[in-house]
Structure formats: structure tokens, C-alpha cells
């Protein structure tokens, strides 16, 4: 168990700076999810903590100690890779035991720890198989097992679920969360999937072009996004952005008005819009409309409610308290 601290962490590849100074304090046992679109630097950030990328500037601390120049093995971390990185020529047992074997642990202890982890992950009957004889979900478990047996103080996950199909992803997501709760190990988890971020995180970091736009608890980030980017990235369907002139009482400097799809409703009066098409998802229906001013919006409508037909002219309304305003830089105002 350990804390992880990042101080003004920066990374450049040649002349291109990809991480522009990130500060973060991870508490002992906390589950932190780093989320952002591809190319935002989230994987690079994780790899700097892992010791697989050098630190250009700033500091990485694990358990209060500066580890900038330590080898990955000296950092007491264990990483789970996106493609699992299992060794094809080794059995599941050998894959899980590899780290312990290198550390020179006695054989009896290795066997005991691998079996313990295998039991936890329901892999006991697969220990003699090779990775290619396993399904995607089982390989994923082996990769986690390999990290667990080492009893590290920090787990690092690099998009561990992105190679699984949708159903399995939901299941593994729950398993990872339960496992982390049970073991209480500090975890950093990188993903581009905002649903994963919302469900797994104690706190999440939303990254945008090498900067941390916002750090906070998932629901706090959802309800109170600090930038237009965060507002648009977290939440599905994304927040509707309209020109701020549509509100009479917009604060000075405001350029964009943001309203979540579930906060828009059909009314007798209000902004006039034309229905472009509707998507019935069962429990809810998404209605895509085009406003007179040329902006488009999505309304999340309970499926029990009335659904306007395509091409119909409707009126939209929302509560003043649900509005968010952003300036021309995309910052809240």
C-alpha cells in the first residue's frame, strides 16, 4: 500500500511536449482513473509512473519517495497491459510465477501465492494451459493474477478491458472493482471509456491534450465540469452546446451554453426546434433536434413519455439551474 504523488510532471518526445505539468495526490488504497481521448497523453502518464518512460521534468513519488530514476522493478508496482503481454511459451502458472521467480522467492512460497491468486480469479483449473488456449476474459484474469501475486503497493492498468467484447467488459469491470476493494491496493487505471471511468473511479482525472482538465469524484465531475471539454467528454450522449445568446441572463464573457440531454424537455413554449430523427433504446429515447439558430441538440426522453415524430416542430425548455456557461477558452464562467 502506498500513496502516489505527481508534481509538475512533464514529458517531451524530442521537441514535442506531450504532458504539460500534472499534479496529483493519490491516497493510499484509492482507485484513480485517468480518462481522455486517444492521444491525450494518458498512457504516457501511466508509463512514467511505471518507469517505462523517462520523466522529462517534475517528480514522481511512490510511498513518499522520489522514484524518477528508479528501475520499474524498484518501484514496487505491477502493471496490467492492454494486450495482456502474457508469455506465449509459458503456462499460466509460469506466467503468474515469473515475477516471483525472478525475485528469487522460495519455490513453496511461489506455488502458494500463485494458487492463492488463481483461486481469487477462478483460474485454478487453467494453470497448466498456455495463454493461447484461453479465452479473452481468462487471459485478462491471468494478466491480473500476474500483477496480484507480487503483492505490489500500486497497480497500474493500461486500458485492460479494451480488447474484450462489450458484455465481458461490463463483467470484468465489476470484477476489477471488487478485487481492488478487497485487496485495498492503490490503483491507477487508464481508459478512454468514460463509462468505465465513472463506474470504477474513486476519483478521476480527465485529460485533454496533455493537461489534467479536472480531477474529482465521478459524480462531481459530471455535475460540475470545469471546462467545456470535460462537459462534452463525460456523459453519453454528450452535453448539448448552444450559443450563449439563447439565454437572456448569460454572464459576461460567456460564449457557450451547455445543457445535459436529460435536462432538456419538451414544453408548450420555449425554443423552437425540428426533430431530425429519434433513437428508441428501450428504457429511453434519444431525440435529435435542430434548433432555429442552426445548433443541434439531443434530448434524453423517458420511453414512457410521448415521442415526437421525425420532422415535427417542438418547443424545448430547461431549468435555469441546469445551465452551464463556458467562455471562449472553454472555461466555466
Amino acid at each position: 500500500m502506498a500513496t502516489v504523488t505527481l508534481k509538475e510532471l512533464k514529458k517531451s518526445f524530442g521537441k514535442t511536449q506531450v504532458i504539460h505539468g500534472i499534479d496529483l495526490e493519490v491516497l493510499d488504497g484509492e482507485f484513480i482513473v485517468i480518462v481522455g481521448p486517444s492521444g491525450c497523453g494518458k498512457s504516457t502518464l501511466l508509463r512514467m509512473v511505471a518507469g517505462l518512460e523517462t520523466v522529462t521534468d517534475g517528480e514522481v513519488q511512490i510511498g513518499g519517495e522520489r522514484v524518477n530514476d528508479s528501475e520499474p522493478m524498484e518501484r514496487d508496482i505491477a502493471m496490467v497491459f492492454q494486450n495482456y503481454a502474457l508469455y506465449p511459451h509459458m503456462t499460466v502458472f509460469d506466467n503468474m510465477a515469473y515475477g516471483l521467480k525472478i525475485a528469487g522467492k522460495p519455490k513453496a512460497e511461489i506455488v502458494e501465492r500463485v494458487h492463492e491468486a488463481a483461486k481469487l480469479l477462478q483460474l485454478e483449473s487453467y494453470l497448466k494451459r498456455r495463454p493461447r488456449e484461453l479465452s479473452g476474459g481468462q487471459r485478462q484474469r491471468v494478466a491480473m493474477g500476474r500483477a496480484i501475486v507480487r503483492k505490489p503497493s500500486v497497480f497500474l492498468f493500461d486500458e485492460p478491458l479494451s480488447n474484450l467484447d462489450a458484455k465481458l467488459r461490463v463483467q470484468m469491470r465489476l470484477e476489477i472493482k471488487q478485487l481492488q476493494r478487497r485487496l485495498g491496493v492503490t490503483s491507477l487505471y487508464v481508459t478512454h471509456d468514460q463509462v468505465e471511468a465513472m463506474t470504477l473511479a474513486d476519483r478521476m482525472i480527465v485529460m485533454n491534450a496533455g493537461k489534467a482538465d479536472q480531477i474529482g469524484a465521478p459524480l462531481e465531475v459530471y455535475a460540475n465540469p470545469q471546462t467545456q471539454f470535460v462537459a462534452g467528454f463525460i456523459g453519453s450522449p454528450p452535453m448539448n452546446f448552444l450559443p450563449s445568446e439563447m439565454a437572456n441572463d448569460a454572464p459576461g464573457g460567456a460564449k457557450t451554453l451547455g445543457i445535459r440531454p436529460e435536462h432538456m424537455r419538451f414544453a408548450r413554449t420555449g425554443k423552437e426546434a425540428t426533430v431530425i430523427y429519434t433513437e428508441a433504446l428501450g428504457a429511453e429515447t434519444l431525440v435529435h433536434v435542430e434548433l432555429k439558430q442552426g445548433a443541434s441538440a439531443t434530448i434524453r426522453q423517458n420511453a414512457a413519455g410521448p415521442v415526437p415524430s421525425e420532422g415535427a416542430v417542438v418547443h424545448l425548455d430547461w431549468d435555469a439551474g441546469d445551465r452551464l456557461f463556458f467562455d471562449s477558452q472553454g472555461r466555466r464562467c
Binding site: A50, Y87, R146
Partner: protein
């Protein structure tokens, strides 16, 4: 009807390969084997016996040369692997894009000229009045001209140089398919660079290593030009003996027997090599 047709198509497609195999490989070998079993007892009088093979085992020069050829070929294979592996690793893992293509092409360039020209190139460098000798004299490092040709080191240099590409190409192919994250996971799990090489990189590259070694070994064993030109008269290469039996001494019977012994030797060594590395021929050739 349709199955007859597809059968016909199959045989037609196979025909060029079969004709090639039968007329150029199998028939000559059968003929050579029959010739090797003939013992000359008088003018145009032959008897079937293993006398030619007996000659080989009774004459120390022959089997000494045979053993020397085998061990020199193995040595050149090992040397090629030791030099080729870092090169292949560098090209496959540490370079990208254009640099990678350029380096790969640079490995290919020597093969645009014929083997003869390449070997003469080495002769120009190594001979007594050659480039290296002259440069060393000019620098005052040696007193008089030095002959670097016509020894085992010269043969070895030529063999390694000639077969390097055939080692590097299969190695690059297998190393390319090694996911970088496997190496990173090794570091993450606390392995040192050496144990990653031994336990992760080499096991993964094994099919490439074995197929490269087979090709290089066969090429060295069957090489005629390089040992003769760089090793001179005393090169004692087995293909040289076969040549002299056929061409100089018109003793086709003994030459054929030698040829078969060489075939047997190379098959045996490749078989042992595959067993030792626990690879199968099929797996290796699928590379």
C-alpha cells in the same frame, strides 16, 4: 464431374513443381546414388559394391576434411548468429519507419553483386599487397607486407559475410512479431536485461534462429567458391574434394559417394540441431 475437374486443376498447378523436383532433384540423386555404388574393376567393367564408401573411411585425409568442413560450417553458423542477432534486434525493435527500411536495404545491398565479385572484394582487402596490409604499413604498425588470405580466419570471414543476410532476414521477421509490451512486462516484473533476452526474446525468436541457422549451415557446408578462393589450395573443404573427383580425376564413382556422404551429413546435423532446440521442421519453415 466437378471433382474430376478440380483434381485436374490441382495436378496442373502442381505440375511445374513436380517436374522440377523429379527431373532436377530426384532423378539426378538416384542416378548419382547408383553411380556411387559402382566399383570399377576393369575397363568399362563395374560391380555393385560399397567400395567407394570404404575408400572414404580408409583414407584419413577424406574424413578429416569431412569433419573439418562440418565443424567449420557449424562455427560459421554460430558466428553468423552471434553477429546477426544484435543487428536484427536493432533493426526490428529499435528503429522505425524510414531508418528501418534503409538499414534493411543496407543488409541487402551486398547481394546485388555476384558471390564471385564479393569474394574477390575480400581478396583485394586481405591479400599481401591488399588494402589492409598497405594501410597498416602506411601507419607504421607493421614492418613489411602481411598475408591475410589463405587461412581459416579468411574462410570464416568470407562464409559469415556471404550468409549474413540469410540469418538476419528470418530473425528480423520473428523479432518484429515480438510485441514490445512483452519486453516491458518483463522489466515491470523485475527481470534484468539479460534474463529478458534469455527467457523472453530468445524463446520467441527460436523459430527464426533455427530457420536462419539451417539455411546458413547448408549454404556454408555446400559453399565451394568462398573456401577455395579465400582458403587457397589448403582450404580442405569437402566440396573441393568432390569437385576434384569429378573434374580433375574423372572418378565419378568416388565423387558421387562423397556427394551422398555430404547430403547425409547435412541432414544429420540439421536433424540433431532441430532436436536440440526442440523445434520441428514444419514450425521452422512456416516462418
Amino acid at each position: 464431374m466437378s471433382s474430376d475437374r478440380s483434381k485436374l486443376a490441382f495436378w496442373l498447378l502442381m505440375a511445374p513443381l513436380l517436374i522440377w523436383l523429379v527431373t532436377l532433384i530426384i532423378l539426378p540423386h538416384v542416378g548419382m546414388f547408383l553411380v556411387s555404388l559402382r566399383e570399377k574393376v576393369g575397363v568399362r567393367e563395374y560391380e555393385t559394391s560399397f567400395a567407394n564408401y570404404a575408400v572414404f573411411f580408409n583414407e584419413p585425409l577424406y574424413w578429416n576434411t569431412f569433419a573439418r568442413t562440418a565443424y567449420m560450417s557449424i562455427a560459421s553458423t554460430v558466428l553468423t548468429l552471434l553477429i546477426g542477432f544484435p543487428i536484427a534486434y536493432y533493426i526490428a525493435k529499435l528503429t522505425r519507419g524510414r531508418t528501418k527500411t534503409t538499414l534493411f536495404l543496407m543488409c541487402l545491398i551486398p547481394f546485388w553483386v555476384s558471390e564471385l565479385v564479393r569474394t574477390f572484394g575480400w581478396m583485394i582487402l586481405l591479400r599481401e599487397t591488399g588494402v589492409i596490409s598497405n594501410v597498416l604499413q602506411y601507419l607504421g604498425l607493421i614492418g613489411g607486407p602481411v598475408e591475410m588470405l589463405y587461412n581459416d580466419a579468411a574462410i570464416m570471414t568470407g562464409l559469415v559475410y556471404t550468409s549474413m543476410l540469410f540469418m538476419v532476414v528470418p530473425l528480423i521477421t520473428t523479432l518484429d512479431s515480438l510485441d514490445d509490451s512483452l519486453i516491458e512486462a518483463g522489466y515491470d516484473l523485475g527481470a534484468s536485461g539479460f534474463s529478458i533476452l534469455r527467457e523472453i526474446v530468445i524463446p520467441h525468436a527460436m523459430p527464426g534462429i533455427v530457420s536462419g541457422c539451417i539455411v546458413v549451415f547448408m549454404l556454408s557446408l555446400g559453399n565451394y567458391l568462398t573456401p577455395i578462393l579465400l582458403g587457397g589450395k589448403d582450404s580442405l573443404w569437402f566440396t573441393g574434394l568432390i569437385y576434384s573427383q569429378f573434374i580433375t580425376r574423372f572418378n565419378w564413382e568416388l565423387g558421387s559417394a562423397f556427394g551422398f556422404l555430404l547430403l547425409g551429413l547435412s541432414s544429420l546435423i540439421v536433424f540433431v540441431g532441430l532436436k536440440l532446440s526442440r523445434q520441428s521442421l514444419g514450425k521452422t519453415m512456416a516462418q
